[in-house]
Symmetry: C2
Subunit: 266 residues, 2 copies
């Protein structure tokens, strides 16, 4: 099936945003969410209300290098012209990186096979240009990176991650996920944690980061993280890292395609 | 003279700020200038109004990596404790990098022997994280860097730069300056212009950048820039580059000291 023949053409958009400028991804009263801003512009272009469907929500303050959403709109011109039209009057904190037609079977959320996040920590007094994009931690001693790496090893793989999420009272939710990557990289004062999974629970990355940082400063042990994981219960010992260090880096789709390439026909 | 013996101790502060967050350097009705924010905090610490004196003003949107100011305050504790006290409740867009005692003869503005600015241009659609810090120029063709470099050569040295400033009606102002450096660097899509002089006129860096960029795209020639310089008159052909690409990088003081080291006793 060629997408161009669909009566209602489906579009996949990859966008980047500075989370500092918005009230999170999801539509809000007041209209200052990323979804609100995009839908407002899209509805102007379409001449009527058009809803967008994101790969998932991001909280206020969380950034995206390549968030993905889709919407349906009949459009007879080149995709580049649609992107040009949608870009008009968008706030500077939001960028539409690509706008491409996809088959009607594509769904930004349900077709996703995984996601990758990065979390950025600065060990010291971050300068004003870095502060909105890191968790800035000023402590007289350095964290024990080897301990953090050992703890991350226990968290990788297929587990019930209920202890590392904010459940929001959804008791019947499936909280088993496969954490394919959980890497810790240090370069000078910059500490980056990369997390990749088939999916993430609410506040899961920030909970994993909070726990790993506690291990780094000896407030928790790797063994305790294993116990939390096995318990399936969130405890106050697991801190949630602040939102501004978190970046949605990539959404994966079937066909080996990443967030930066269009999905193949299904 | 040891600074510690001064009846009124003079302090030199080096600060960095994201110009996006403030209404410029200079005190404003409404109090959202950098000077206002610092003076408000300083006056709390001092228990009474204390004025600060900057090396010069920066316009709204212009950033600083190392702006310098001084103030007078008797203080019996360690300089680091003064810095710690001043940092409390400062907005995230402003950072006090160092707070050091200086001789009473030091003046942030009148003692300065020069300044260095950088101006950052992005050739393309800058992502949301870069946009507040560059002049983002989207054009189908690339600028002619060799032409820009040749034009910069004509601007370097001791000249009357009246044609490259916004005069503000100060007719009797001395507009002769020595432009010690004017360099153009290109790395991929990033174009950086470095300007260093014994002093700068109002909007001089942004006017030089605007003119050089016009040369890059063949709208002006190097010979025309020489003519403008000789005329001493500002023309509409010289565009002013937008503020957000401009960074105050360093203020130089006597004794070879830079903005990042304390001045020597005089």
């Amino acid at each position: 099936m060629r997408a161009e023949l669909s009566p209602s053409l489906r579009w996949k958009v990859i966008c980047a945003y500075d989370g500092t400028s918005f009230a999170g991804w999801q539509s809000q009263v007041g209209g200052r969410s990323i979804q609100d801003v995009i839908e407002a512009r899209l509805s102007e272009v379409a001449g009527g209300l058009v809803r967008i469907h994101g790969s998932g929500r991001t909280d206020a303050g969380v950034h995206a290098l390549a968030q993905v959403f889709h919407f349906d709109l009949p459009w007879k011109h080149a995709p580049e012209r649609l992107r040009a039209a949608l870009r008009v009057n968008l706030p500077a904190g939001l960028q539409l990186k690509s706008v491409r037609p996809v088959p009607a079977t594509f769904h930004a959320r349900f077709s996703a096979t995984g996601k990758r996040y990065s979390y950025r920590i600065y060990l010291g007094d971050a300068d004003p240009f870095l502060r909105p994009f890191v968790w800035s931690i000023e402590r007289p001693t350095a964290p024990r990176i080897d301990a953090m790496i050992a703890a991350a090893e226990r968290l990788r793989g297929r587990h019930d991650f209920a202890a590392f999420s904010a459940n929001n009272g959804a008791a019947n939710q499936d909280t088993v996920r496969t954490l394919r990557r959980l890497e810790i990289r240090k370069k000078g004062r910059h500490l980056t944690i990369i997390a990749e999974a088939d999916g993430f629970l609410y506040k899961m990355v920030r909970s994993l980061v909070g726990a790993l940082v506690s291990v780094g400063w000896g407030k928790l042990t790797a063994a305790q993280l294993s116990q939390f994981l096995a318990s399936g219960v969130r405890t106050a010992a697991v801190e949630t890292a602040p939102p501004q260090g978190l970046f949605l880096e990539k959404v994966f789709y079937q066909g080996g395609a990443t967030g930066t390439a269009p999905v193949q026909d299904e």
